[in-house]
């Protein structure tokens, strides 16, 4: 069976770390197909952006543990998928080795920063109703 792909990246040969990442990109992609589309449709089709004030998020949306857990799971999937995807983009398009290394370091720092900021706000934002589900 040929491993060349007409659509996505060819699966790396062997049992390397890159093979694991190849599978995880597809797995997180399927998870995001459900979670990211649901998130977008709920907050842009069922609700209008104009009503989503900070008070609404605190009092209504993140007052429910389920939606905090949903959003954190979505954040984990999108950070892995997004930053691993950007790593591929940099490796494909940046030829100069030192620039590539520098960009990959910046990318890694950005990944850690967004992970910390996103996790912090999900975990620490006060819930007026005590976080009932």
């Amino acid at each position: 069976m040929s491993l060349s792909s007409r659509s996505g990246r060819p699966r790396p040969l062997g049992r390397s770390r890159e093979t694991v990442i190849w599978y995880l990109m597809r797995l997180t992609g399927l998870g995001l197909f459900v979670l990211a589309l649901a998130h977008y449709l709920i907050l842009h089709f069922l609700f209008d952006p104009a009503e989503q004030t900070a008070a609404w998020i605190i009092d209504e949306r993140w007052n429910q543990l389920f939606w905090r857990a949903f959003d954190w799971a979505l954040l984990m999937l999108v950070l892995f998928h997004g930053f691993m995807g950007m790593r591929t983009v940099i490796n494909d398009h940046v030829g100069r080795p030192r620039l590539r290394t520098a960009l990959l370091i910046v990318l890694g720092l950005l990944a850690v920063t967004t992970f910390v900021m996103g996790t912090a706000v999900v975990a620490t934002l006060p819930a007026p109703g005590g976080g009932s589900a």
Partner: protein, 129 residues
Amino acid sequence: MLLRYRGREGMIGWLFHRISGVAIWAFVILHVIDIYLVGGNPDAYDELLAIYASTIGRILEVLLGAALLYHALNGLRIVVLDFWPPLTRYHRALWWAVWVPFLIVGVPVAYQIMAPVFGLPQFELGGGA
């Protein structure tokens, strides 16, 4: 670039996937920062929300939705082809098939987001403040 390489569906599909992916990634960074403000500086978040809810903000939201929907549907096509290689014979037809759910879902969503700009009625779906 599209014209010079005379790429067909496979190459155009790949290029759209890459552009939409980078655009969504950039928005995710912004989105983590704006949600962080809900805890750190709610007034600043509400000011940013006014931009999101403006006409330009709504146009950008529609474009974000288009990028997200295309990336999701074409990504599903990639997964299908990777795990059922015989279907690769039909990879061009599958790329065109992506646009069917894209339009069926995308057109009503774009209408819903843009309706307030034109004073048109929105679908009533249980949301609403």
